[in-house]
């Protein structure tokens, strides 16, 4: 369960949200839409724990009965996916994944094996030592998602993750993402401005409606 309770975010000029509450069930994808500048990213930043200092926020964030809004980014266990894949350019594809893999997999060999297997699961056999810069857009997107998931997050935030892919890739990658989320059974908040991104039967929240109701 991901729970936002009574969230108010404001800056010097105005209130972006006031007294907003939202609950996400495990495995559920809630879509957040709205025009640019409506505060979608600000909301995401607050959930991650990286709110711009020019904003101030009150309210609580709970993840599986643990209060998160008082924790630093690294302790929240909330995974993140941007529209840019943000693979670390100084590491190989495999090292990028190993970077996310928990230390539980101790021995170097076991780690590498686990990474190789993940790569093979997403159709990238033998890509371990490749430079991320040599991958295609679709391949990079898949590696990037797997990196986020390998860290075993308890919730997921997707910030327009499909917007930089072309139409065909987009459909494929979308299906891939939702399949993985279902597999992991974690609550997911998706920010997008494309109605086609919304998973079937998923809840959609238009951010301006929300602001009308709650302001």
């Amino acid at each position: 369960m991901l729970n936002i309770k009574n969230l108010t975010i404001s800056n010097a000029e105005k209130n972006l949200f006031s007294d907003l509450s939202l609950a996400l069930n495990p495995g559920e994808v809630v879509t957040l839409t709205g025009v640019s500048g409506s505060g979608k990213s600000t909301l995401l930043n607050w959930v991650i724990g990286d709110l711009d200092p020019s904003f101030s926020a009150t309210g609580e964030l709970w993840l599986n009965q643990v209060r998160c809004d008082t924790l630093p980014v690294e302790a929240r266990r909330i995974g993140l996916l941007f529209q840019d894949d943000l693979l670390f350019p100084h590491l190989s594809v495999g090292q990028n994944l190993a970077f996310a893999l928990p230390a539980r997999f101790r021995d170097g060999k076991a780690r590498r094996q686990r990474v190789e297997q993940t790569l093979s699961n997403i159709g990238l056999d033998g890509f371990h030592d490749r430079d991320p810069a040599t991958l295609s857009g679709g391949q990079r997107a898949r590696v990037s998602l797997m990196r986020t998931l390998l860290a075993e997050p308890l919730a997921l935030l997707l910030d327009e993750p499909f917007s930089k892919l072309d139409a065909v890739l987009r459909t494929q990658f979308r299906a891939f993402v939702f399949e993985q989320i279902e597999h992991q059974n974690i609550p997911t908040l998706l920010v997008t401005h494309d109605p086609a991104d919304v998973p079937q039967g998923g809840r959609v929240i238009e951010i301006s409606d929300w602001q009308h109701i709650h302001v």
Partner: protein
């Protein structure tokens, strides 16, 4: 071309005498060079390492966060303090009779200055300290520019969202990516430390001085044999730079080779609150200006007293204004002359040759100045105002290009395309659209060019042929004499000039953009 062209044959003329083996022999038997090289190496290596360390520590501790933002806002002010003025202020702070000793004397009941060597020490440690503090501001400024990029900022969030603490993300994700990008700025810092003369005269050892000062003395000696020795020694400086650059290069390569496979070990953020390192670093900057101000108005100020017994504006009223005006017209001429060159270069210049343009920043200044001087001697223009302005351009131009290139690249080219489709020629589109839109960075660049010119020491001495005195050369010349009041006034004038330029640029942009929010 006009700026760079003549330096090449000049370099040839300057280096030519050094090709004689007898010159090297005389250098070898001179007896000063070994100790001079040691203090040069100590001051430049320790200075560079400390500067990098402090900048890295500050960034790791404070980025991202509000402290970093406030640090970033203060940097331009500190950066505009010229090297020579900073060295003088630091001298007033840490000398045995300086402010620090006075503060200690207060508690320790000293009645006379301690007998310690805190400045002009034989190893060049005080010079290293001055370089470290001054250059750490520069490196922080470079870091701030890189960290301002969205991709870099997001990598930090990404690393943390994968469970790594801020410090760990810095170490594992950001530093490996940023270090290669910082190699040129660090190289510039090191080259500066190797060939710095003005700061070395003020804070460096006396007999023998650092190698750079020694070279400068030899080069300006009327005896051709000594001049040749100076050329030979300046080749040593270049070799040292190359050797150190190669060594660092090798080290970086080794580190890359031994990058371990990610273990996934997450370390929780240290709960211990780090001391706020940025405060002392900035405090030095403010204290330097404060102590200069106090000395400039002091009348009687004997040792243990923390404040002067009496103050007056007498020193200011009696101050020699000539260096100030010379500096002013020189800096105005140099920066204004450079501006069109910078704009034309950025718009139509060959993009690949930018690296060449930065060469004066990463090569020790001494051989270059010697080359300029040799070229001027050849056409017998040395000691003229034109020559003086020209000699400054070699450093003003690259710094201005370096400052403007970022905003210039970030400019939305679609604006130009729109103008072109409306029938404007490329030239007219630049005049009517691009440059007016970039007014703010252009004015800031102009101010920076002004500041760079104000701080020049070596070119002024050489190309000016001793006929022109700027606040910088005056301050360094006076530093040997010991009238601290007069010295403080010249140092303050040296600080005031660039600050006024930056202030003027800020006011001008604000005023010109008063009806255009997008320009501010």
């Amino acid at each position: 071309m006009l700026i760079f062209g003549p330096v090449l044959p000049g370099l040839y003329w300057a280096v030519n005498p050094a090709l004689d083996p007898a010159v090297w022999q005389s250098l070898w038997f001179d007896g000063q060079w070994a100790q001079a090289l040691r203090s040069t190496l100590v001051s430049s290596v320790i200075g560079t390492v400390l500067a990098c360390g402090m900048a890295a520590l500050l960034a790791t501790l404070h980025y991202p966060g509000q402290l970093w933002m406030s640090l970033q806002r203060r940097l331009p002010l500190l950066l505009s303090v010229p090297h020579a003025a900073f060295a003088l202020g630091l001298f007033f702070l840490i000398a045995p009779s300086g402010w620090l000793a006075r503060a200690v004397a207060h508690f320790a009941q000293w009645t006379s200055p301690p007998d310690w060597v805190t400045v002009q020490d034989p190893y060049g440690l005080s010079l290293a300290l001055a370089l470290a503090i001054k250059e750490s501001w520069f490196l922080l400024w470079v870091l701030a520019a890189v960290l301002g990029e969205q991709a870099v900022a997001r990598q930090m969030v990404m690393g943390r969202s994968l469970g790594y603490s801020r410090t760990q993300t810095w170490r594992l994700v950001l530093w490996p990516q940023l270090l290669p990008r910082l190699k040129w700025p660090v190289m510039a810092v090191f080259a500066y430390g190797l060939s710095v003369v003005d700061m070395a005269i003020i804070l460096g050892p006396g007999t023998p001085p650092t190698l750079a000062v020694l070279i400068w003395r030899w080069l300006t000696d009327p005896d051709p044999a000594l001049q040749a020795r100076g050329s030979a020694a300046s080749l040593i400086l270049l070799t040292v730079l190359l050797a150190c650059a190669l060594a660092v290069r090798g080290l970086a390569w080794l580190m890359k080779l031994h990058r371990p496979y990610p273990t996934g070990q997450r370390k929780p953020a240290a709960s211990r609150r780090w001391p706020r390192v940025r405060t002392p670093l900035f405090l030095v900057g403010y204290a330097v200006v404060a102590v200069l101000l106090l000395w400039s108005v002091a009348q009687e100020w004997f040792f243990p007293a923390l404040l002067p017994a009496a103050v007056s504006l007498e020193t200011w009223q009696q101050a020699d204004g000539a260096p100030f005006w010379t500096t002013l017209w020189l800096a105005v001429a140099a920066s204004l002359l450079c501006l069109p060159a910078v704009l034309v270069w950025l718009e139509w210049g060959p993009k690949r040759l930018n690296a060449l343009l930065y060469l004066p920043l990463i090569v020790p200044a001494l051989p270059l100045v010697a080359g300029q001087y040799a070229a001027l001697l050849h056409v017998q223009w040395d000691g003229t105002a034109v020559a003086l302005v020209w000699s400054h351009l070699l450093w003003v131009l690259p710094y201005m290009v370096l400052t403007l290139i970022g905003p210039y690249r970030a400019f939305d080219l679609r604006l130009m395309t729109s103008a072109r489709t409306l029938g404007y020629s490329p030239w007219k589109a630049c005049l009517a659209v691009k440059w007016p839109v970039l007014l703010r960075p252009i004015l800031a660049t102009l101010a920076l060019g002004f500041a760079v010119s104000v701080a020049q020491y070596l070119p002024t001495l050489f190309a000016g042929g001793g006929r022109f005195t700027t606040v910088t050369t005056e301050a360094v010349a006076l530093s040997a004499g010991g009238n601290r009041r007069v010295l403080a006034v010249q140092a303050l004038l040296q600080i005031a000039l660039p600050m006024a330029a930056f202030g003027l640029a800020a006011v001008a942009t604000h005023w010109l953009g008063r009806h255009r929010k997008g320009l501010r």
